[in-house]
């Protein structure tokens, strides 16, 4: 985390006292309460959390709610463009947004390995607070566990989220229709390559920063403009390719995309070329595909690009009327091929 409104603050648990998390910090006693109060409750500060109750009690402003959960085990915990805390908030916020929901509340479970740096924990909590503020959600309930040294990887975080749906649309892969335009909100592949470069100590001329970002505001803007969204999907592990394959398979229609229209910045392209990776399979954390009727495509694109929000947003393909349930891609040289999910992760080429 760098250059934010919280930088300059120092960890409320004096480093001289407890520079590292102890097993006792998860033991249910005074140390645990001190950790929760000083690091989490004070940072995430909101009335529901401050009741120190077993759960959060609230009223919802809609009778349609969305509910999701995700666990975060990223290595490294801090990477160019973000950290596990930002990821844990943005990831769950984005999953709610993909349901067309306005994110309201998050829960947050920490599994901390004994010996983890207290200062890092504090930085991650601040980063979560900042991400939550940006996405306009509150972290209203949580849990802390400490596991023996060697039984964790520093820190794992689980978040769950609830959002309200204030419209009558059903946004789902099953709603995809022939003729729909396929839009992506920005250039792809940054998060995966940032993590890869950092983890494997691969250095390029310029640092690739993760694209980690909240998408809820963008989705709300599209809905506010009355754009008839058929389907949304955030591009996470497996990249653009995996998301399109999943949607094609559920909708039953063919999705045809063009390689030349998929935005990829040169840094990511270059890194992919060196390693033998295909950017369409590289992970993202702030990118989504949006399916809208053809007649609304240009309007949706204008909303995305408005005020420099997503200048790289692009229409990358369309839904065909063939009921094959597959994804095809027109290659740069003009031939068509199938796009499939990978069976595992991409591996660098050998020679």
């Amino acid at each position: 985390m760098s250059d934010n409104e919280y930088s300059g603050l120092s960890c409320p648990i004096p480093i001289s006292e407890y520079p590292h998390v102890l097993l006792a910090h998860g033991g249910g006693g005074k140390l645990m309460h001190q950790l929760i109060e000083k690091i989490f409750t004070a940072t995430f500060a909101n009335p529901m959390l401050e009741t120190a109750h077993d759960g959060a009690v609230f009223k919802a402003d809609s009778d349609r709610l969305a509910f999701t959960t995700d666990s975060y085990v990223v290595d490294p915990l801090f990477f160019p463009g973000g950290d596990i805390g930002k990821l844990a908030v943005d990831g769950t916020v984005n999953d709610l947004a993909m349901c067309g929901a306005r994110p309201l509340y998050l829960s947050c479970g920490f599994i901390i390995e004994e010996g983890f740096s207290m200062d890092s924990l504090w930085k991650i909590a601040l980063s979560m607070k900042q991400a939550a503020d940006e996405a306009k959600v509150s972290i209203v309930t949580g849990d802390t566990k400490v596991v023996d040294k060697g039984r964790g990887h520093g820190l794992f975080i689980n978040t769950a989220g609830i959002g309200s749906i204030g419209h009558d649309l059903t946004i789902a892969p099953s709603m995809v229709q022939p003729g729909d335009a396929v839009i992506v909100n920005g250039d792809i592949g940054r998060h995966g390559m940032a993590i890869m470069a950092h983890r494997e100590s691969l250095s390029f001329e310029t640092t690739i920063e993760s694209d980690c970002a909240p998408l809820a505001d963008t989705v709300m803007r599209l809905l506010d403009e009355d754009i008839e969204i058929h389907c949304l999907r955030d591009l996470t592990r497996g990249g653009l390719a995996a998301s399109l394959v999943e949607i094609a398979s559920v909708s039953g229609y063919r999705i045809a995309v063009e390689e030349s229209k998929i935005p990829v910045v040169d840094q990511v392209r270059g890194a992919c070329e060196i390693l033998g990776f295909d950017p369409t399979y590289v992970a993202n954390e702030g990118r989504m595909v949006i399916f809208v009727p053809k007649k609304e495509a240009e309007k949706a694109l204008a909303v995305l690009r408005d005020q420099g929000l997503w200048p790289e947003a692009a229409i990358i393909g369309r839904v065909g009327d063939e009921r094959t349930g597959i994804v095809t891609m027109k290659s740069l040289i003009g031939a068509e091929r199938i796009v499939d999910m990978l069976s595992g992760e991409q591996l660098p080429r050998i020679c």
Partner: protein
Amino acid sequence: MRYVDEFRDHEAAVRYVRQINRITTREWTIMEVCGGQTHAILKSGIDQLIPGKINLLHGPGCPVCVTAVELIDRAIAIASKENVIFCSFGDMLRVPGSSKDLISVRAEGGDIRTVYAPTDTIRIAYENPDREVVFFGIGFETTAPANATLVYQARQMNLKNLSILMAQVLIPPAMEAILSAPGNNVMGFLAAGHVCSVVGYDDYEHIVSKYNVPIVVTGFEPLDILQGIYMTIAQLEEGRAEVENQYRRAVRREGNITAQKIMGEVFNVVDRRWRGLGLIEKSGLALIHKYAEFDAEIRFGVEQLTAEESTECISGLILQGKKKPYDCPVFGSLCTPEYPLGATMVSSEGACAAYYRYRKEGTESIKQSGGKERP
């Protein structure tokens, strides 16, 4: 992006396809040797653009695919030992040995690590002085200089806990084996550009004169491959058989002398067994006597471990260009990248994996049309 976009240009590709169409008067069968080329052909769809008269066969140039099953078994035996850190390129972990693969050994508690460069293992050996660190030295002439450097540096640093399991193979002897096999139908080769960037292409002169086949040293971008096909077809149509170099921006006739020097310092040429192709004379590299202390087979006493290949998988015929993936009765059904029966389905450079990934849709119709991919 420079040096990439110009070699994927649509207009130029269309022009090349038109040129190839213009000069092709009859059916020709040519083989691209390298798995990287196979991958590029299927990914960019070159096989769909060129005339139906040209039959592209996919060669043995996938380092993961051709590593003999007994070497995988030896790797598994070493990696299963206490106190060993076994380092390998990622693709090798999923190649089936006689009874299991390296990934299962890892799940059973073996310390198996994926590395991106052979010399990464030097750091691992240095940081773990009480453990034996072994590198799986696979690949063609392309990986040989880096693998030789690993051994050379280990000697310089006096690292006693590092060794290499040598599975290194050489391309020209495999091309000769394919040409001299009964029933061969390869009429010309696109030679592997990266291999030639290391060892040059003088070795191909005698293959060209002995077997009367054109060999064109070819790169890996779509336009490289289209130009390589054009040059090969032009030779065939004109009745010529010569070594030509399409990949001039990366390959010189003499190759990379520095790389060859380090290979000569550390390796000598030996007979080697290939998966699917059997024993090929003078087709492998082993450590010379001076460096024998770094030989993992000797250090762990696994030289005698032998294994027979599975009979279910036709990858041998695919690697020789005698069959295509869709000729296999279990392609895409019993054998998939998730549950590979043979190495050609594992590596991204393997022909079966490339067909599965980019052409799965047409599997049934392709089979019914007798193997022609185009209407």
